[in-house]
């Protein structure tokens, strides 16, 4: 069976800085992968390579056995952040409608089939109730479920979600993760879920990918999120602390969170 994602010897440099170097990974169809790492480790860079908007400097990525560009319709993508709607009264539904067949030519008529598809995805993410309201007045949690609905248009086989939990409270994080997990199990969908904190995703992830120091480690949580593995990846002493089913990555110098570790790295 063709893997959902095949990353071979992938290197990416941006403006002369090596962001990712010689990454290899194979992700099977239907897997739920959590992608973590400190700020600047290249999570979004990797995402951009997967969705085909950034060409690798070396190596290759294959999505469902195809170059990313050709697999674009099989990828549902949820970008990081969403702003700029503050002055418009455009409804959440109007945004999703614009994205439905948004790459077609002609005027933006919404066909009956498209309307039904929009209804469907809004139902899946439980956003139908407020989709008629202007996007600009929705809460952060509501907006994220609209953006997730948008990523589900056309039932893609791979979902690429770039930090969808950012600035959500624990309750809304839970709701969003539940939605994604439901989609993943009801239709066989591969999920690549970029996040900063791995704890909310503990129960849904099949495997984790941890990016640091230009490299990547992919495997079961217990194999990757260990002091040895992350120390090797960071090239600095890292300690993994576990308490009551929760995991924290700290630098061995003590008390430093993972993003601050990365800061040390760049110094």
């Amino acid at each position: 069976m063709t893997p959902a994602l095949q990353i071979s010897d992938l290197s990416v440099s941006l403006g002369g800085n090596a962001i990712l170097s010689r990454i290899n990974a194979e992700i099977g169809a239907g897997e739920f992968i959590g992608i973590f790492g400190p700020n600047g480790a290249g999570k979004t860079t990797l995402v951009r390579c997967i969705i085909g908007t950034l060409a690798p400097s070396r190596g290759s990525i294959q999505v469902l056995g195809l170059p990313p560009r050709q697999a674009a319709r099989q990828i549902g993508y949820m970008p990081q952040g969403h702003g700029g709607f503050d002055i418009t009264a455009l409804s959440a539904r109007a945004l999703v409608e614009a994205a439905c067949d948004g790459d077609a030519w002609g005027v933006p008529w919404t066909s009956k089939a498209a309307r039904q598809e929009v209804d469907r995805v809004l139902e899946v993410t439980e956003a139908a109730r407020y989709a008629h309201r202007p996007f600009s007045v929705l809460s952060g949690g509501e907006r994220q479920r609209v953006m997730l609905a948008q990523a589900l248009l056309g039932s893609p086989r791979i979902l690429v979600l770039d930090e969808p939990l950012a600035s959500l409270d624990p309750k809304n994080q839970g709701l969003l993760i539940e939605c994604v997990a439901r989609v993943q199990t009801s239709t066989p969908t591969t999920v690549l879920f970029v996040a900063h904190d791995m704890n909310p995703l503990m129960n849904v992830m099949d495997r984790v990918m941890y990016l640091a120091g230009g490299g990547a480690a992919l495997g079961k949580l217990d194999e990757v999120i260990t002091s040895e593995c992350l120390t090797k990846l960071y090239g600095a002493d890292i300690e993994v602390v576990r308490t009551q089913n929760r995991v924290f990555v700290v630098s061995a110098e003590g008390g430093v969170t993972e993003s601050e570790c990365a800061h040390h790295d760049h110094d």
Binding site: I51, A72, P79, A94, L95, A98, G102, G106
Partner: protein, 275 residues
Amino acid sequence: MISTLANYLGYEFVQNALIAGTLSAILGAIVGYFVIIRNSGFAAHALAHIGFAGAAGAALVGLSPLAGMLILTAGSGVLMGQAGDKVNRSDMAIGMVLSMALGLGTLFLKLYSGYAGQAKSILFGEIFGVSSGQIVMMAGLSVVSLGGLAIFSRRLLFASIQPRLAEARGISLSEMSTGFMLVLAISVTLASQIVGILLVFTLVIAPAGIAVRLFRTFWKGIGASVGLGVIVVWIGILLDCVTGYPATFWITALFFVIYILAEGWCRFVMRQGHS
């Protein structure tokens, strides 16, 4: 008053003003909707001023101001589109180009003596000076730019509100930007024939800006924008006939009042809790 109005409607220059006003209001309202959702109001403003240099320079080489303006705005529009999203939304880059264009316009005016009267009409518009020949040209340009927009408006809408998603779907943001800036250049040129370069904003920004604040779907927004633009331009022209105060004043004043009312309405609705 009714009979005075009926009397005025019989004049060809009033009829021409109404036709030209309608054309530029429709084009401005539709293109303006995209200007608002793309957040590129300053680029629209700059294009109009670049047109000033074109119009002033045209006289030097024996072209009509309309042609000169069109050539320069279209050229700069394409360049701005090519330069990409970052430049398009960079106040700094646009500001530099804008002031250079105004400087050039001043130079051209100086070189072409006896041009002061025409400069005033370029800057403030001459709504009752539109000839039948100009109307044909305006109609042609409107059809071309709206036709062009119709071809790629779906992609443009998607790229405007969700640029990163659109990019992931294989839409080239710089192509969209270039195509749109070209359409914008044409509509800015047309609008300036009616209200003048300084007030292009009125036709391109005001109706669409108000419609975007009030309507939740694309088509209702476009419809409201067009309706509002055309009605206000008509009222402005007719008020000019009756009162003798310039149509440009009436049009801007009406839009301003409607904008204040719309803002007030939005805030009122917000406070009521949104439903």
